[in-house]
Amino acid sequence: MSRSQRLRLSANLLLRDWRAGELTLLLSALMLAVAATTTLSMLSQRLAHTLNYQSAELLGADLQVKSPNPLPAAYLQQAATSGLTQSVTLSFLSMVLTNEAMTLASVEAVQPNYPLRGVLKISTSADANAPLTTTIGGPPQGEVWGDPRLLQRLAITAGDKVMLGALTLPLTQFLHYEPGRAPGMMGLQPRLLMHWDDLPATQIIQPGSRLSYHYLFAGTADQLEQFSAWLAPQLQSSQEIVSPGRGQQRTTNVLERVDRFLGLAILVATLMAAIAIAMAARDYSQQHYDMSAMLRTLGATARDLLWIYLPQLLLLGVIGTLSGVLLGWLSQGVIFLLLADLLKGEPATLNSEPLMIGFTTGMITLIGFALPPVLRLQQVPPLRVLRRDLLPLPLSSWLLYGAASGATLLLIWHHSQSAAMTAAVIVGATLLLALLAVVSQLLIRMGVKLQGSVGVAWRYGLQNLARRRGSAMGELLAVALGLMVMATLATVRSDLIASWREQLPDNLPNHFVINILASEKAAFGEFLEAQQMTASAIYPMVRGRLITHNGQPFINNDSGDNTPQNRDNALQRELNLTWSETLQDDNQIIEGRWFTPDDRGKPLISVESGVAERLGIHLGDEITFMINSEPVSATVISLRQVSWDSFRPNFFMIFPPGLLSASQADQATYITSFYLKDAAQTLIELVKRFPSVTVIEIEQLLAQFAQLFAQVALAVELLALFVLAAGVLLIVATLQTTLKERLQEGALLRALGASRKQITEAQLAEFAMLGLLAGTLAAVAAEGMIWMLYTQLLSLPPTFNPAVWLLTPLAGITIMTLTGYLATRRVVNQSPLQLLVR
């Protein structure tokens, strides 16, 4: 037989199989695997992009370079060559005056394209509830815009003139929102935004002025990466690259969990679809035994058969994969349409990566799970034309399981890119399957024992279960696996979302207050109490610079300026230090111990674990700070994990009380945070009574986080649907494999006089029992799985879930009975004759 003849025959047979609906299941499973993978990868990519974009909005750019002096023109030239958009702002502290009052303000001179990411929100009113105008671009030349707090300090309204150096300008708008106003900018003064071109006329910028240039850049991820890789080695120690994500601890936490969850969902949907593919392929293979036997009888060699079936599989793979990719692309489009209101910012540019991931997944799945059963067709004995009961020799189990495990391994590796995760999933899945297999056998036996105590139809149904013990176990396993995954995902999903919501409770502190003087501390506490405001504890705060580590200077000038340690932010600025007798609720000691009352005044210190790791500080090391021109040394007694999500004052370094000298402690100011809703009046009163304090509102920031969580939660919910679809498909594929047998039996029973009602009842009994057993098994497995995921992967507290125990068996019965009934409806609907003469 020539190759072209084989191919033509192959195509012909494929077409006929397609028309006869024999390929629907295989193709759907393949499409689903690919679509799920593609959608999830695309979404994950777009989500990451959007989140980055929003972080960029907080920064006003995709990338920022801070520098005390102008950057060399060559740097900016390089940015332009890389294709980046750029803008520069200059900020400095300056007195702003009116005829009656004056205050120190943080002035920022901006160019007309400021900010590159995000918007400004302005109003002619200083009231936070006033309608706001959204705009891009700072004030026009000859005007300034100011923080509403200037109203408190200078008692001005929009249109009043203010003096800035040698220039007098009208303040035309109050600035209510501006990118880059994240907490961490301690000592924040009220903002004043001015036009870049007005700067010379103020005559403020003199040699020796303390200035901070912020170079803003925006562009694609590739451009940014290229530019920052070029720039990083050139920068001096006083210059710093700031990118979104850095310091955005909260966003990063959420993102990491979302990414893990998405990865898990992708993997689970793909593996379930892969099992469905294996089942559908087995079914397809069985449907082709007769044909293969006949072809062998007519002279076809094993090679001929290979050439007939392999191109079919390949073609099927290409069609299934391409349509899966298309479906995936469409569904992520739909999901993004649904989320359009929530997802602000530019849509991500789609690249070929998710498409490639989808395609590779499809091919790996097909080859690993569908090829072995199809290869078995080569082995069909020709004698089957005379003896229908003859089956092909079973494939070597090495080949069968080797291919499937190989494909599984590849898929997991492909998605997780982590050897540890791959190993964990493989070991876990093997143990789980073995356990499920044993338990399902036991359950079937127990179920079968019920026979004596039920009616005729039920008895027949249960007998069916007993007779088909082998295939029943397969069905039970598949359904239990599907249900387990769905139960696990549903629980994980709602717990994840709940854990995010918990981070933003209604009374989360939305104001930070700093610069509370020691002398005002008591009065300030009384004021808060009188206003019935819940505040976090009030902490003392002194500023100090880290200088030596075990006697060696932290910044090692001999090793050059650019080691990551030397450039660490913690060494570039003064750190906020505190002392405390008690450990905060949101802090956890991970190494060493917290202070005891005996430690009072001893040279000890507790260090936040992240900064300790970055700077190479270990338990027992001695570190020295320069505080108020006096060195203070302390031995590291504990490393602390800090929950930066808590929106409460937190510190990298904590001393025991009584260590700092009186002169140093006298320098301390106090910090706290509290929740206050719609009470501008209270704030004004507060600022009047305590003129030295600075109030930082983080309402905007919180709103942004709340929105972020909402969209992520919705996306996660939508994605769980894919897993559900894969589960249902798996159940249908499983039922399909016994459908033929059921059809034959049903026809025979009807020919022997059984009513349709009796047969239906018997079938429903069998399915319901199978559903109940599968659901129970799934509940046990899901609970174990949830526990493992929470403790090992997601760092959530483990939970006990009564809903899983109640709903999973119920869902098992419902899904199984319904799908079972729909899939095998033909058993009672088709004429017995039609079935029996086949």
Binding site: L9, N12, L13, D17, T297, G299, V385, L386
Partner: protein, 224 residues
């Protein structure tokens, strides 16, 4: 001598112990001979046919078909021999449901590597009286029509041997008669050697030789 067997045995293992299906079959068939293999159910007729066709292997003994010792050939070798030398007609027609009548007839020719099998297939279908049905699929044809397609397929590669296993067993008597006539007519035209397994005494008498099996052994071998 086209086919010969020597001391052919077929034994299978069952739960109740070994079961002898064929015992000591020594048989020669000359080219062009028409041989009916008859016997009651379970006498081993179909097993003998399967062994002669190389669809199965004996437990011991030899089978030589057109000079080839079947027991020394592997599965693919026997398949090639079948494709070259044999045609088959089965009780259950065994057409490929995915192919049309014409494609079913073309199949053995294609498997043998024929470059343009269609005209020959059409000619054969015309010969069995189905030129109007060439594009029909098996499920669109009656039993008799399906068997006629199967006969056309069996003669497609001009086989030296035609093996027929109860070819009228699934048909009513009138249709069975038409099918019988067709097989014998085509057989005469092509001068094919015919091995016919049947229950039908009347059909058996149309062969010049009949071999009767009982409990796996030949009890009569009569030539008309």
């Amino acid at each position: 001598m086209l086919i010969s067997t020597h001391a052919l045995q077929k034994q299978v293992n069952t739960a109740a112990g070994p079961l002898q299906i064929l015992r000591d079959i020594n048989l020669t068939v000359d080219a062009g001979e028409r041989v009916a293999i008859i016997g009651v159910s379970g006498s081993g007729k179909s097993t003998l046919l399967a062994l002669l066709a190389g669809l199965d292997l004996p437990s011991s003994g030899s089978i030589i078909v057109n000079g080839h010792e079947l027991t020394t050939l592997n599965e693919d070798g026997r398949a090639r021999l079948r494709g070259r030398e044999m045609g088959f007609v089965f009780q259950s027609f065994q057409l490929l449901p995915a192919l049309t009548a014409c494609e079913n007839v073309m199949l053995p020719l294609e498997l043998a590597g024929a470059s343009n099998p269609r005209p020959q297939a059409l000619e054969l279908l015309q010969r069995v009286g189905l030129s109007e049905r060439i594009h029909h699929y098996p499920r669109q044809l009656s039993g008799g029509e399906q068997q006629r397609v199967a006969i056309a397929r069996a003669f497609a590669n001009r086989p030296a041997i035609l093996l027929a296993d109860e070819p009228t067993g699934n048909l009513d008597s009138a249709t069975g008669e038409i099918i019988t006539d067709l097989i014998f007519a085509l057989n005469s035209e092509a001068k094919t050697t015919l091995l016919l397994v049947t229950h039908d005494q009347e059909m058996a008498t149309r062969c010049e030789r009949s071999i009767t099996l009982q409990a796996g052994g030949i009890i009569h071998d009569t030539k008309a």
